[in-house]
Symmetry: C2
Subunit: 340 residues, 2 copies
């Protein structure tokens, strides 16, 4: 799903997300919205969807990931995490109960249980303690939720340790959450490790509830992890890379800044029917990128998001037709054929 | 007209300019496009309109304004201006002939004669020399034009001196350009001076050809200068101010960053039917501005451009109905009623 860290999907309007990109759900970051404008402000504006003029579902993360990766001086206790805002240094505290309160204020359709996200590599002993703490925090998150209108997903942790992943999956799925997520991946480990842990973990997750792999990934990652049974993803990759001039195409990656595109009249991806590909040349997009024009970031973001959403739409169709493995194989082969 | 300095109207797509804003023409800067991506590159992409995926008219300025305001170490000779690129310091030269060559490469529907734009205040003697030089350069521009598909406008100079403005108007309008522009205003003089010089100069300009006031201005400036007989304007004000959080409304200016909008569910302008005003609150736009979100710059730009284009569309209607003075008076009164 497209990710809007501070209350918007960067450079893209809700209308484009809906009509041009076909997004079904957007993610807002609990940590960012809590700090600015404040979850109380979002609540007074009628919640995240209304605030954003977005007419479809929304999701908030637990805040944990940003607390561990972005905030300063975080200190973990059994009760929760003490940290300082990365914006102004003020002292803040996030716990299962405060995360639920904030997420209920933000009012997304799906909330995430408060968890600890451990950077990899990490000592097994620490990961084990973290798995146990995440289980206790998951139960407290579940107990703290008071709004029946919002769904709540639990998050499985366990680092790169298969035994701990199985243990965490057993613990978290013992709580009747509305869906289950795999957290703590895409945090520094190698891609084969991420694939290995994901495919190992999904086998311990119920089939009748959504399975959400957090913070993943490249188009190739999505296709592989769908084959392991994952239903949902979120990632900044399509938009962040777009702003940096890296475009995803059916033939692989394309760096728009390259000199060879200066006179190119070709679209980014001749197979793509997004606004960018239907109207603009690689030469124009290269110029916008070199000139630092905002429109370049925007047209690139529109393309990458359209590419990602088309990829998973086609994956859904292939699954429904019972031909997913063929779709994946052919798509991956084409993606590795002509990266530029 | 919306201004696209480096080949785009900042943050705004051609589709929005056409469908949401109703722009009839966009301006590309000769200086910027010559330096990057190079007018030869624009030519190879089929000209400015095709490069930009813009299906309506385009205009290029002469390059003079940027050479005098932006470039480094400019040195004026009878032949032309020697200067260094503000981007990389390389030596460049712009003259009537090279300006025409570049503008023909860029391929806009309207080109501007190469002129000297003098900063104000300035010595009368210098302004007089500059008026004479601009006349000689205007004739050379006219003579250097070889493409019959493109229109060419002459530019009247003369600083804040009425006698020199009259002289320049007589000189420039003696050359059968397709339209005439008033240049060298909005360059440091007070607003009443700009109004005085504009109303003085238009009386020496033919009524049957477009009159274009360059680099102007605020909504109030446009309404007043239309009453002096001006037909065309270009200005960065709607987009630049939008990016800085200054919005134009039917009741005057609105600074979106102000704390008082934090919880406001009101649109920027309840009389406006742009996408921004129809979908987003002042509270959300304030949040986007405070968070430095690109979408905020974009939604603000969309509103300001829509406001400007609606203003001049209504002016055209009022002129056609023979009620322009009433329209101007009422609109100016309302604009001064509730600036926030």
């Amino acid at each position: 799903m497209p990710v809007g860290t501070a209350g918007s999907v960067k450079t893209i309007s809700p209308k484009e997300l809906d009509e041009d990109i076909g997004a079904q759900i957007i993610l807002g970051n609990t940590y960012h919205l809590h700090i600015r404008p404040g979850d109380d402000v979002v609540a007074k504006h009628g919640g995240l969807a209304k605030f954003n003029a977005w007419n479809r579902p929304t999701l908030t993360d637990s805040g944990g990931y940003q607390v561990f990766s972005l905030a300063e001086m975080n200190k973990i206790t059994e009760d929760g995490v003490h940290f300082r805002s990365h914006l102004d240094g003020r002292k803040l505290f996030l716990s299962p109960e405060t995360s639920m309160e904030i997420q209920q204020n933000i009012g997304a359709d799906i909330m995430m249980a408060f968890d600890e996200c451990v950077s990899l590599p990490a000592e097994r002993k620490y990961v084990e303690e973290s798995v146990e703490r995440t289980f206790r925090w998951a139960q407290r998150s579940y107990d703290a939720k008071t709004n029946d209108e919002q769904a709540l997903f639990g998050i499985i942790q366990g680092g790169a340790d298969k035994e701990l992943r199985e243990r965490s999956a057993g613990q978290i799925t013992s709580i009747p959450f509305d869906g289950y997520a795999i957290g703590g991946l895409s945090v520094g480990e190698e891609i084969p490790v991420m694939y290995d842990i994901t495919s190992h973990t999904t086998q311990f997750m119920p089939e009748d509830k959504p399975r959400y792999l957090m913070g993943v990934g490249t188009p190739q990652d999505l296709l592989n992890c769908i084959s392991y049974g994952v239903d949902m993803f979120d990632c900044v990759m399509p938009t962040r890379n777009a702003r940096n001039g890296l475009l995803f195409t059916s033939k692989g990656k394309l760096h728009i800044k390259r000199k060879e595109w200066q006179l190119s009249d070709d679209p980014v991806d001749s197979k793509c029917d997004c606004y960018t590909c239907k109207n603009f040349s690689r030469g124009y997009l290269r110029h916008l990128f070199k000139a630092g024009e905002y429109l370049g970031m925007r047209l690139n973001s529109l393309h990458n998001l359209h590419f990602y959403l088309s990829l998973v739409k086609n994956a859904r169709n292939a699954i429904n037709l019972g031909v997913y493995n063929t779709y994946m194989k052919e798509t991956l082969e084409e993606m590795s054929s002509g990266g530029e």
